[in-house]
């Protein structure tokens, strides 16, 4: 192994690690705010990538029907309660859950997004996939928001299986790729850097900075942080934990879908690709103890690099090596941190 190969592997590891880092951040965010270990995080990666591919192929992505169905369901459940709170709130609910999905449907079916520029297609994909996050929170998690972590985890597993099944139904068993954001290819001292890998790393960096600013400066971000630190205390200060949950799922869905869109030109995405990608993000998040954002991001980068180098040295054992990383990390964490019983 010479320097050239090491550089190539390093570059590959950083590009993959950037995606894992994004997913790790989303997992930490969701866990901190809602105590949900969000296993379906990976499904948003697959849904984002495959929805975009489906739009580009001139098809109607199945996620559209999911958006319409979940919207109708949420509206049907919430309308009786909201109606008592006044007409304006009811109008808001119907606008979000009925009119918005219909408007997106009109765009997908009527406006011919096949011929749109890539940027608009990406926006439409996000408009399709991202609202699924809060909708799923409303339907699956909000009714049991106070349940123990284990029950929330069981619901996550169920949701993951349901979403993978729907993915197979929507997109079929075969994978898809999308065209690259840029055809750029730089040659830096014998190392070829593609435009797409710059996009991935750049977009990840921008997102991470944006998340930092969001949490530090904005009111909503502070509300999320408060909920993460102490749910009961936050509620006493007038922060709606329901809103915090929905907001964190919105962010998680957005991060997932965007990650999918970013890696779809680099690799083939299948309806079940998301799970493994999400799992590697999860390993990163575990390194950070599901609590620290910077350590989770660093852990995810480490996973990416480890994966890339182990695929060079011992390709048959790559997954073994990557997932075995979790054991020393857990041992180290359980030795260094004092265990606090968190269940109330």
């Amino acid at each position: 192994m010479d320097l050239q190969i090491a550089l190539l592997l390093g570059q590959d590891g950083i590009v993959n690690g950037a995606i894992y880092a994004l997913l790790a951040l989303a997992l930490v965010l969701v866990f901190a705010v809602t105590r949900v270990i969000f296993i379906p995080q990976g499904e948003f990666v697959a849904y984002g990538a495959l929805t975009l591919a489906s739009l580009q192929a001139g098809g109607t992505p199945g996620t559209l029907w999911l958006l319409l169905a979940l919207g109708a369901l949420v509206a049907a459940i919430d309308a009786p309660v909201i109606a008592r709170q006044g007409g304006r709130r009811l109008a808001g609910l119907l606008g979000r859950q009925i009119l918005y999905p219909l408007a997106v449907a009109a765009l997908v079916l009527g406006a011919g997004p096949r011929d749109w520029p890539l940027a608009l297609q990406v926006l439409l994909t996000l408009a399709l996939v991202v609202p699924l996050g809060p909708q799923l929170y409303r339907l699956a998690y909000q009714p049991i928001a106070e349940a123990p972590v284990l029950i929330l985890l069981i619901v996550s597993v169920a949701l993951h299986l349901a979403l993978v099944g729907l993915g197979l139904l929507f997109f079929g068993a075969e994978g898809s790729r999308t065209p690259a954001f840029s055809e750029l290819s730089l040659d830096i001292g014998g190392l070829t850097v593609t435009g797409q890998s710059l996009w991935v790393v750049g977009a990840s960096a921008v997102l991470i900075v944006a998340l930092y600013v969001f949490f530090e400066k904005s009111l909503y971000g502070k509300a999320l942080r408060a909920t993460a630190i102490n749910r009961a205390g936050a509620r006493l200060m007038g922060i709606s934990t329901t809103l915090a949950g929905k907001l964190s799922f919105l962010l998680a869905a957005a991060i997932g879908a965007l990650s999918g869109i970013l890696i779809a030109p680099i690799t083939t995405i299948y309806y079940d690709t998301g799970f493994l990608v999400g799992l590697k993000g999860f390993v990163g998040a575990i390194v950070g103890g599901l609590a620290s954002y910077p350590v989770a991001a660093a852990g995810a980068l480490l996973v990416g690099l480890l994966e890339s180098f182990s695929s060079f040295w011992a390709s048959a054992f790559k997954e073994v090596i990557v997932f075995t990383l979790i054991i020393p990390v857990l041992v180290w964490r359980s030795l260094t941190t004092r265990h606090v019983e968190e269940e109330e």
């Binding site: 592997l9 590959d12 075969e174 898809s176 994966e307 695929s311 060079f312 040295w313």
Partner: protein, 381 residues
Amino acid sequence: MKTQHLLAAAVAAALAVPALADINVGVVVSATGPAASLGIPEKNTFALMPTSIGGEKINYIILDDATDTTTAVKNTRKLITEDKVDVIVGSSITPNSLAMVDVAAEAETPMISMAASAAIVDPVDAKRRWVFKTPQNDIQMSTAIVEHMINAGVKTVAFIGFADAYGEGWYREFSKIAEARKLAIVANERYNRSDTSVTGQVLKVMAAKPDAVLVAGAGTPAALPQKALKEKGYKGAYYQTHGVANKDFLRVCGKDCEGTFLPAGPVLVAAQLPADNPIKKVASDYVAKYEAAHGKGTTSTFGAHAWDAGLLLQNAVPAALKKAKPGSKEFRAALRDALEGLKNVTVSHGIVNMSAQDHLGFDQRARVMVRVENGDWKLIQ
């Protein structure tokens, strides 16, 4: 369309109190899970099969095993004990089929597998005398590849395959023949179907400077190493296995797969076969039927394996009917004997000559070499 089939299968399964003397065919396919790209066309194919053979009505009872070995065995037991099937067809992949062999043999029910490994029917022992299969053995396909490589002047070859039974099986067969033909394997790498990057493996392959690379993967995931090799500027020859023989592979791989060689069943290039080839008529017939139902360019060689299982039954059932009534132990034994006695049956993948030692019955007419040209398969001689 798909939901209709599922519904039909569900209804058929629910109403499985078969009228006496109907022939019941129990089908196990992997229509969901990792092998869904094999199982779905297979499942679709059963809907196109004749509903009666030799004047007897045929019921196809289709169950999905979700690419899970335990479920495949459970389904097989259910078909045998509850639906009293006369024959089992399935499953789509080797591990499931191997597990089903025991169940079928125990109940003395003939079984036709749609999975590739030779181990399913070889050697024909007390259990495997009940088991037949339709896909070509890996060894037949490996021989074709090695032969093509030798003729093309390839001296060194790198192997990159799935880190599962498919890749392992291919490496075993391929390395055996390559060694015998003095072809040096200079790299042996593995990757996972769901991997998002194969940079490490590709760099290692390129460092070994092989004349050719063989990618042993199935379906669209097999495109990943080839695209990575092209991107890194590998200039040698590319070979793929017959596992990639569907349109989705071409769609995903695009122009990076131009000029790739692979062995395949003749049904893949049915229209290009010479007119005097007897397989042409049977294969074209299947392609026409499948595409009429599912649209142009949708046929895959996997669905054709299911079709061939149907053809074997259509040839064997009339002989068995002469000896016993369907639904009985005697009929199942007679059907087994009839399947073993099949001679010169033309199916979409080749010409079948079964014997007591050979429950596959294919010869070299069951494979052709194909090259990817202008985004389509091209038959080469």
